[in-house]
Amino acid sequence: MNRNSDVNGDRPARKAGVSRRSLMLGTVVTGFSAAFGEFGLSGGVARAATVDDATFLSVSRVITGHSELHPVIARRLFAAMQKTFPDYASKIQALSGLVAQGGTPREILDRAGDLKDDLLALNAAWYTGSVQDKTNAPTVAYYDALMYQPTRDGLPVPTYCFDRPGWWTETPPPLGIAVHAPLPATPPAPVPQGIESKAPPQTAPLGTIPPSSPPHSPLPHREL
């Protein structure tokens, strides 16, 4: 199977960078269809008059680099973020100013200054589909959460079928990127599977035993 980011077929692939034109287009997207739900309606959530859903969407598209972000999720995520974080509209207002000069997500992050945490939090919300990485945090997206995009050609979004029974026996797609990449910092330990509301303690990274070691052989049975 070739790497084909559209194999799951529901969203166009990432576009590298965002042009000023698409940014402009994003800001005029208005009048989203009516919906419902806790984060579907704006009622009860105070908003700054100058920041609308379209601004939130266009800022989101630029900082994530994903031009295909869906307006319905954007509207619901914006409402959820406003409910969770005080004065959130002004943060979007500030981010809107930051992204106006254009650039790649990395370039924008590099000049974000005090807005860095806000930018990363918004970016994380689009990736995880939840407003925060916190127990029972409000969630607005699952199937279309951005976290599943980079592996859509090789891994299912859990609960949704991928292909016919046995598809997993086929050769997976090529990785398409370097196996090793320079990291900006030491990553935190991954969360192991198991019922824990927080990651259990783990060792610092350990050395491994080189493969030239003799084969592992358990002691033979001790017959009594």
Partner: protein, 552 residues
């Protein structure tokens, strides 16, 4: 077709009263109902549709899903709590050196905890039944592997297990009948790891699983949507509800939201009735000829202790004082690393292959065996969390998620505690459930046998990671629970130091059976469900024989 009789007040009378509607209770209920006995099943929890669990899971917060909140999607009856961890409800009070290793996630709901298992259907090894006589540690079972073997076969057939027809991949290979279906084929990651580690003695084999590649009865083929835990959305995996459905088709009746709290005994110490609270806290009585408690390894001993009466002041079935003692689980650790090539775990069902090389050996006289599951749950969520924590954005973020998801390895490692009477479930003196019934407390220490076994595990993990060019190798330093609760109603030949006999019949009560994990005197290192089911079917046969011989 015999059916239980309900009175106007809601009391019930049946040949067989089964408390607990999980895989064991369901199978026994079905066996007895199919044999023409009237059966009532009393279940403390709710009865909901699969669809509700599926949607609750998808709607959960990323954080809950990342940390495997497999309990939270199953709504609980307000009167029948089960452990919750997001946030913790402290239903089970834990203490002791490794109390935190006993954070079990079991369900009190119609169908039981196999709603969120991963369908691993392992057998114990023959030697696991003779730990004391072969290795001088732990206890021997009251029955041999050969006595349980036919029931293993039946349990596999009932559950539709796919396992390797190739004898060299079987663990154990001692079988009288083949698996109902051949193994679920390996994905790329399993094949690649086997190729690399097997020459070094690790012996990676397919996990026998309760799902199949072609439809099995009315179950569809597994589509590998990688969500076995916490819910198979399409019903390709065996869940205990399948036997509840079958039992009901044979005339059994399930009463949900029925919290059993009391038991009556007669002058011969036979059980004559159990009592339950309904959803409105009204008490009802179930009379019968044979009684089965199959409420899981924590709730069964808890109920036996709660139901203490004048004739059995230390609790039902507890003349040996062993009820609630010897609590075991496959206390385990996780090891994770990044391989230096993409292995793409997360394709196919959530469990696929397992390293069983260190499952047995002479070392077991000194320290614990282990098994290492190559966890096949998608690594996308932890990869995302790590990549986000690195402060990446844009293409670099997407690449890092892809790299970590494709190269990430998680080994779920199980060890084998020995039965220790000090590892004990007791009734809390301070905490009560909403019905005023004492909550369970558990004191737990994995023991030096496991601690020494972990040293060996750490070396083996370092070697495996080395073979796969691993970086960022980390091993958890606290033991985690695996929900394989054993020991609390331990089996043995001697009524003075055990609770049940080889049929899981209580030594103290001729018409009470306590089948399931609680009866298991040795943990082995493998998931307990198939052994529990086999014990359940064996118990069902002994109940049937009692009825046929007029002893019931």
């Amino acid at each position: 077709m015999a059916t239980p009789e309900f009175s106007q007040s809601g009391d019930v009378s049946a040949d067989v009263v089964v408390v607990g509607s999980g895989v064991v209770g369901g199978m026994i209920a079905n066996e007895l109902a199919a044999a023409g006995r009237s059966v009532v099943i009393l279940e403390a929890g709710l009865r909901l549709k699969r669809e509700a669990y599926v949607e609750n899971w998808r709607n959960m917060s990323f954080h809950n899903r990342l940390h495997s909140d497999f309990q939270g999607l199953y709504p609980q009856s307000p009167l029948a709590q089960a452990p919750l961890y997001f946030p913790p409800n402290d239903y089970v009070g834990l203490s002791g050196p490794n109390g935190s290793a006993f954070k079990q996630g079991y369900l009190r709901t119609v169908g039981g905890t196999t709603w969120h298992w991963a369908a691993s259907c392992w057998r114990h090894l023959p030697v696991d039944f003779e730990m004391k006589s072969r290795y001088g540690v732990g206890r021997d079972w009251a029955i041999s592997y050969n006595e349980l073997e036919p029931y293993y076969c039946r349990a596999e057939e009932e559950m539709g297990v796919s396992g390797p027809h190739d004898v060299s991949l079987q663990s154990p290979p001692e079988r009288s009948r083949p698996y109902p279906r051949d193994m679920i084929p390996f994905g790329y990651g399993d094949r690649r790891v086997a190729e690399i580690v097997n020459p070094h003695g690790f012996h990676l084999v397919p996990i026998p699983q309760g799902r199949s590649m072609e439809p099995f009865g009315d179950r569809p083929a597994c589509c590998g949507n990688n969500n076995c835990q916490p819910i198979c959305p399409i019903g390709a995996m065996y869940n205990g509800i399948q036997h509840i459905d079958r039992a009901e088709a044979n005339g059994a009746v399930t009463v949900a939201e029925a919290v059993v709290y009391k038991m009556d005994t007669d002058e011969n110490n036979r059980i004559t009735a159990v009592y339950w609270y309904d959803a409105h806290r009204q008490s009802h009585k179930a009379t019968g000829k044979a009684f089965v408690l199959a409420c899981n390894g924590i709730e069964t001993p808890r109920l036996l202790l709660l139901a203490a009466n004048a004739r059995n002041p230390n609790g039902i079935a507890n003349s040996s004082d062993q009820v609630g003692r010897n609590m075991m689980d496959h206390s385990g650790v996780h090891a994770s690393f990044l391989a230096n090539e993409p292995l793409w775990f997360g394709r196919g069902p959530a469990q696929s292959s397992c390293i069983v090389g260190p499952r047995d050996g002479g070392f077991r006289s000194e320290y614990s065996a282990n098994k290492m599951i190559l966890n096949n749950i998608s690594r996308v969520a932890p990869a995302t969390q790590q990549a986000l924590a690195l402060g990446l954005v844009g293409q670099e973020l997407d690449d890092e998620i892809r790299r970590r998801a494709a190269c990430g390895v998680d080994l779920s490692i199980s060890l084998e505690p020995l039965p220790d009477p000090n590892n004990r479930l007791t009734l809390s003196k301070t905490r009560q459930d909403p019905l005023g019934l004492a909550c369970p407390d558990i004191h737990y220490d994995v023991g030096d046998y496991v601690r020494k076994g972990l040293e060996s595990v750490n070396e083996q993990v370092k070697q495996i990671a080395g073979l796969l060019g691993g970086t960022e190798l980390r091993i958890t330093t606290d033991y985690n629970a695996n929900n394989h609760i054993m020991g609390g109603t331990i089996m043995g030949k001697n009524p003075k130091d055990s609770v049940v006999d080889g049929d899981c019949r209580a030594h103290d009560h001729a018409n009470l059976w306590l089948p399931g994990g609680g009866a298991m005197p040795s943990a082995s290192v493998v998931n307990t469900t198939l052994s529990m089911a086999a014990l359940g079917l064996k118990a069902a046969d002994s109940i049937k024989a009692d009825f046929e011989k007029g002893r019931a």
